[in-house]
Structure formats: C-alpha cells, structure tokens
C-alpha cells in the first residue's frame, strides 16, 4: 500500500497533479452551484414581490411539462419567448441584453 502512495518516488508530482485537478474542478463546480442558487433565490423573491401583470404569463408557464424540474423563471421566460414576434430584436428596451451585470458578477468574481 505504501508502495502505491510512493508512486515510484514521484509521489509529489503524481499526487500533486491529481490534487490540483480535483481542486480546480471541485471549486468550479461549487462556485457554479452557488451562483445558480443565489440567482434563483433572488428571482423567486422578485417574482413573489411583484406578482402584478403576471396573470397571463403564469398561466402560459404552468402549461409546460415537468413542473418539479422547471424553475419559475423558465415559465416566465418561455411565455415571453412565445408571446413575442420574431422581428422584435430591434426592441429599444433590450431587456434581454441588459441581463447579466447583477448576477454574473457574483459568479465571475469568485474565479
């Protein structure tokens, strides 16, 4: 067993390599999961605090499948996509493009 851990005298290099890889991959996984949880928490809070004007959208969203797999924002986004004309990319509001300064800053900052 100790022979296995010695790696023919190259223990530092071999175990160091596997350790670094594990560290990087696990850290990225945890940061990504935390980013998802934070964004979905904020979104859920916003949706409960501003339920107005959402009647039509919510009905459209609930007709989708797999409600337990589908976070609330999906229902909203899906109905938005369905209710809009294809040519509306010139929409001056550009709500979609204004997207990510808030949430992504948290995820990106940790890396």
């Amino acid at each position: 067993m100790s022979e296995f851990f010695a790696m023919g005298g190259y223990a530092v290099y071999v175990w160091g390599s596997y350790g670094v890889a594990a560290l990087v991959l696990v850290a990225l996984l945890l940061l990504s999961l935390r980013g998802l949880r934070e964004n979905e928490t904020i979104l859920a809070a916003l949706e409960t605090s501003a339920p107005a004007r959402g009647g039509r959208k919510r009905r459209a969203g609930q007709s989708g499948d797999g409600a337990e797999m589908m976070p609330a924002y999906l229902a909203m986004a899906g109905s938005d996509a369905g209710g809009r004309k294809p040519g509306s990319s010139a929409d001056p509001a550009k709500g979609d493009a204004g997207g990510d300064t808030g949430g992504d800053g948290g995820g990106g900052g940790g890396e």
């Binding site: 296995f4 986004a77 938005d80 979609d96 493009a97 808030g102």
Partner: protein, 247 residues
C-alpha cells in the same frame, strides 16, 4: 422584452441531459482513477510519472475543445444573434480556463522530474499559456462594458480572433522544435501509446467531457436566471413612474 431564441426548449433539454452527464462524470472519474492509478502499468522510461498524463492530456484536449465551441458560439452570436450562444460562451469560459490551468500546472509537475525544468518558453507551452490568457481576457472583457450587449459583442470578436491560436497549439510540436513531445494519440498513422495506457486516457477524457456538460448547464441556468432578474428589475423601474402618476 426577451429575444431569447428558445430558453424553454433549452431548459427542457438541459433537465434531461444534466442527470446523465453528472452520473457519467462521477462513474467515469472513479473508473479513470482506478485504471489510471492502479491497474495501468508504469512507463518503461518515465515510471509512475506517466500517470500524470491521464489528467494532463484530457485537460489539454478539453481546453482546446471548450475554446473551439466558444468560438463557434461567437459566430452564432454575431451572425444570427442567437442569445443562447452568448449565454453559453460566458458559462463555458471559466471552465475552459480551469482546464487550461490544470493542463499547465500538471505539465509543470510532469516537466520537473522528466525534463528537469518546470517551464520552458517553447512553442507548445507558450501557445497554451496564451490560450489561458485568452480565456481570462474574454471573461474580463465581457464584464468591462456598462452596456452588456457591447461587452458580449467585444467578447465574441476576441474569441474569433483568438481561434487562430487553436491550430497553432495543435501543430506547434510539428512546426517548431519543442521540448514537448509530438502528438502520440491523434495521429494519422494511429496512436503510438501502449493500449493499456489508452484506456485510462479515454475514460478520463469522457469524465472531463461529462463534467463540463453538467457544469456548463448549471452555469447557463444561473446566467439565464440572472438575465431574468435584470429584466424584471428594469421592468419594475420603468413601471414605477406610471404607478405614481396614476395615484
């Protein structure tokens, strides 16, 4: 308000793929560690340091694969204005940078005992270091603008300019005299590696690929949620004056 191509379809597909990718990642990692560290033989010249290859080479392949997919996404974003393409590129960038970092660090840990040096400025090592900086540059650039649309466009252009580095990395060991060895798996005349070493190599590659698919889905969901939050805040801000005027 949204011009998402179809995030609902993406979410449905992602919900199906995610558990499979996560499961395959876990199983392949375990199998890759077992075959790579236990059952595969030490190299007749390099001894047990050859086991570093099972992390180093899949990480290097992933670093090129992720960058290439991001560049393809940049084309989709610039030409067809496909919004999920931007979401994908932003989500994948830190993972690509992570794979590149793993490649560089494990290469260093392999170079010290085998070459007698942690680092040389040869063509292969230098071009991979540039790839790492391209990832970091993209991540910094897309967040450097007040207007995220402009940030996304600048990031897409950077990705397309940087894609020239991908063939340079691949062929650097053939075009220049490098301390790094030439390709021994992806060769026209077939792999020159002993078969027992190819098994853990490909299993670890499958593990890294499945890991990437699972985590990039998580990151894309987070990104879509963040965009939704931003859109809702803009709507609320726009609606506030209307409400006060009505009263």
């Amino acid at each position: 308000m949204h011009r998402f191509a179809n995030p609902a379809r993406f979410q449905r597909l992602a919900a199906v793929i995610l558990p499979w990718a996560a499961g395959i990642a876990v199983l392949a990692t375990l199998a890759g560690l077992w075959t790579g560290l236990v059952t595969s033989p030490p190299d007749y010249q390099q001894g047990d340091t050859v086991r570093i290859m099972y992390v180093h080479v899949p990480a290097a392949w992933m670093s090129l694969f992720v960058y290439t997919t991001m560049a393809a996404a940049a084309v989709a974003a610039l030409v067809w204005r496909h919004p999920l393409a931007e979401v994908y590129a932003r989500a994948a960038a830190p993972l690509g940078a992570g794979f590149t970092a793993i490649c560089l660090i494990t290469g260093s840990l392999w170079g010290e005992p085998m070459w007698g040096t942690w680092w040389v400025w040869d063509a292969r090592l230098t071009s991979v270091l540039i790839l790492f900086f391209l990832y970091l540059g993209f991540m910094a650039l897309v967040n450097a603008f007040d207007d995220p649309t402009r940030g996304a466009k600048a990031g897409s252009i950077l990705l397309l300019v940087g894609v020239v580095n991908v063939p340079i990395i691949k062929f650097s060991v053939d075009w220049w005299n490098t301390l790094h060895q030439p390709a021994s798996v992806l060769r026209l005349d077939g792999p020159t590696i002993y078969g027992d070493m190819l098994v853990p190599l490909f299993i670890m590659f499958a593990a890294f690929k499945a890991y990437f698919i699972a985590v990039v889905i998580v990151r894309m969901r987070a990104e879509l949620a963040a965009r939704k939050v931003q859109a809702m805040r803009l709507t609320q801000a726009a609606r506030a004056p209307e409400l006060s005027a009505a009263e």
